[in-house]
């Protein structure tokens, strides 16, 4: 079933023009098909091949998780929140910065997988799963960060509407309660959305495994064979998920923004905070996808076949467009507050521009706005994986600074100057290292346990692509092969 290769024009030797076109078109994954068995073997080999370097990195990350995440959190639970730097006026420290940051990272998975699936953007096919994994793993870190912030984490069940004898009931009119509901919906929804398209690839892995892996994949593949009925149910569900998860995604980060915007504080009380946060989330998420794809490409076998310059190019364009939109909302938020003339808001803005955290403010502007605008218009840069990954990494640094300024710094400059005290993180630094390490550790483990490339989606795309003769040339064209459109 290699429709794309079969439909490539038959070319005679010595016919230089079309031959060159033929060779050129193979730079695109959809026009460079391999037999399904070969692609399966490549993906399986990428999962099964582990060098000593992998185990060294795995060991370091496991150590960091054990010390900076498990031990540090355990210590904080045992000792209380006084070991953290949160205190008046910055009661929300890095825990909330991390929560917002990780929810932001999680948005790219949904964006790439759902929105691009709805609009049938073909370049999405090989990297949807890598992006979806970011959603699930990112949300786990966001959830963990909130629980860290709770302090008495064992009382977390008070958040849930469980009939009780305490005469306490969740206040559904509080943005913090909306957070719980929205993040719970999002993490469950995105995990189900990750799992559904994974089932056929787990079945493929089951057919090619022995020992414990066979049992593992057999359980997860649920008995999938690929009957017409199974594909139809799967496609219908995936289509519904692709549409339904988009408003959920928007709601989550909008609600996170309302944690701030609903309060009458300088810097926070803003009507554009919702879309501004959503765009910021997409900005950091896109950058993170570029980093993950680059790491996958250089560390996993055969990934250069699946992840090509065209994919980095498309991702770079998306990053550029998102940076335009982000800049628009950033400026919108800034100029309205600047123009408003409120005394305390003015104080805050001057403090951001000239105070001790001004370096962070200017880095934010440079990394989130100037850097993508100056670089991503260039096709060569977009098509160079390491450069795009570096830009993605720097955008994420800028986005982290942005969240840092919004949470502890804007809490510092309030209407009571006698409380002003700059936040100094303490154990939070270790816990932050811990969440980053846990995210990477999850990813590393996933790269060896589940097929990170959705092989069936790649093959489906290759079947749909062909070259159509128009006049003297052949033009790429794509057919509609969506089951749900029949």
């Amino acid at each position: 079933m290699t429709a794309a290769s079969e439909s490539l024009p038959h070319l005679e030797k010595g016919h230089a023009g079309p031959h060159e076109a033929h060779e050129d078109i193979r730079q695109y994954l959809m026009f460079d098909p391999k037999p399904r068995g070969e692609m399966n073997a490549m993906v399986m080999e990428s999962m099964l091949t582990t060098s000593w370097k992998f185990w060294v990195v795995f060991g370091i990350l496991a150590f960091l998780v054990a010390t900076c995440f498990i031990y540090a959190w355990g210590y904080m639970i045992a000792e209380g929140l006084w070991v953290a730097g949160v205190m008046r006026p910055s009661y929300w420290g890095i825990f909330l910065v991390n929560t917002v940051f990780w929810i932001g990272i999680s948005h790219a998975g949904t964006f790439i997988s759902a929105i691009l699936r709805v609009f049938k953007a073909e370049f999405r096919r090989p990297f949807t799963r890598a992006a979806e994994l970011m959603t699930t793993f990112g949300l786990i870190q966001a959830g963990a960060s909130i629980f860290m912030h709770l302090g008495r984490v064992w009382l977390a069940y008070w958040l849930f509407p469980i009939p009780n004898v305490r005469q306490l009931w969740p206040n559904f009119h509080s943005p913090l309660m909306w957070d719980l509901l929205a993040i719970t919906t999002y993490i469950l929804g995105s995990t189900m959305y990750l799992f559904l398209p994974l089932i056929p690839d787990l079945a493929m892995a089951r057919d090619r495994s022995t020992g414990w892996r066979k049992t593992f994949y057999k359980i997860l593949a649920l008995g999938f064979r690929g009957t017409e009925g199974e594909w139809t149910h799967l496609h219908t569900a995936m289509n519904f998920f692709a549409f339904a998860i988009i408003p959920v995604m928007f709601s989550v980060h909008t609600i996170v923004s309302w944690d701030f915007a609903m309060a009458m504080r300088p810097g926070w009380s803003s009507t554009v905070f919702g879309p501004y946060f959503v765009l910021g989330a997409l900005h950091s998420g896109m950058g993170a996808v570029a980093v993950v794809l680059f790491i996958m490409r250089v560390t996993m076998k055969h990934m250069d076949y699946f992840l090509r310059a065209e994919h980095f190019d498309a991702l770079g364009k998306l990053m550029l467009i998102v940076s335009f939109a982000y800049s628009y909302f950033f400026f919108n938020d800034y100029i309205v507050q600047w123009y408003g003339g409120d005394r305390w808001t003015d104080t805050l803005l001057h403090w951001l521009e000239e105070g001790p955290m001004a370096w962070m403010f200017y880095q934010l502007i440079f990394l989130n706005i100037a850097l993508p605008w100056l670089t991503l218009w260039n096709k060569k840069i977009r098509q160079t994986p390491w450069l795009l990954a570096l830009i993605g990494l720097l955008i994420n640094l800028g986005m982290y600074w942005e969240r840092y300024l919004i949470v502890p710094v804007m809490l510092t400059i309030n209407r009571m100057p006698f409380t002003w005290k700059l936040y100094e993180p303490r154990i939070e630094i270790f816990l932050t290292i811990g969440t980053f390490s846990l995210f990477l550790l999850f990813y590393l483990a996933a790269s060896r346990l589940i097929p990170l490339i959705p092989v069936w989606e790649v093959q489906e795309g290759q079947m749909a692509h062909s070259l159509r003769k128009v006049g003297k040339t052949h033009l790429p064209s794509v057919s509609e092969v969506d089951l749900t459109m029949q």
Binding site: R36, F172, L181, L196, A203, L222, T232, F240, V481, Q486
Partner: protein, 174 residues
């Protein structure tokens, strides 16, 4: 009445598989007795088959309705069970309630859709099933039932149409 055997015809591509399905229909095999299995989704139109019925959309809708009702109950019902009057504020204001109702509607709809795939596909299913791993390597498997005495006729017909192998299969552990 003769006993029916399950036969698996393995095809290398879509076109011969579609021809094979058409031939089976011509030879009197009921559409219900034919199952096409593939490693990529194939539209029923490609194979000349009717569209399989799915309840997933209906279940999604049911989930959404249930979630909406649950959201309404949480937001406009439970506050009266645990009333906390706060200086002049409404016990059940409408605008903030919309957020909870939206999230519950979406959560239940997504859960019902996910469960719908399980129910309609009979997942998880760890019983022995008719299958061959070559299917996930790109082959298209056409399973059909035919009377044991007429097996050869079917095997010959499908082999002529390009089937790589046509043989009886037994259910096996996947």
């Amino acid at each position: 009445m003769s006993e029916n055997n399950t036969i698996l015809a393995l095809f290398p591509d879509i076109n011969p598989a579609a021809d094979g399905v058409e031939k089976l229909q011509e030879m009197g095999v009921s559409d219900n007795d034919i199952t096409v299995i593939s490693g990529v989704p194939l539209t029923p139109a490609m194979l000349g088959r009717s569209h399989p019925h799915t309840n997933v959309s209906l279940l999604s809708l049911g989930g959404a309705v249930a979630g909406f009702c649950f959201g309404v109950f949480l937001n406009y019902g439970t506050p009266y069970l645990y009333t906390v009057p706060v200086g002049g504020q409404y016990i059940t204001p409408i605008p903030p309630g919309m957020i909870l109702i939206f999230e519950m509607t979406m959560l239940f709809a997504l859960l019902a859709t996910f469960l719908g795939v399980f129910l309609d596909s009979y997942f998880p299913n760890y019983r022995p099933l008719e299958y061959t791993p070559e299917i996930s390597d790109g082959k298209i498997g056409v399973f059909f039932k035919c009377p044991a005495g007429e097996q050869k006729k079917f095997i010959d017909a499908l082999s002529t149409l390009g089937a790589e192998s046509v043989q009886p299969v037994e259910a096996q552990q996947l």
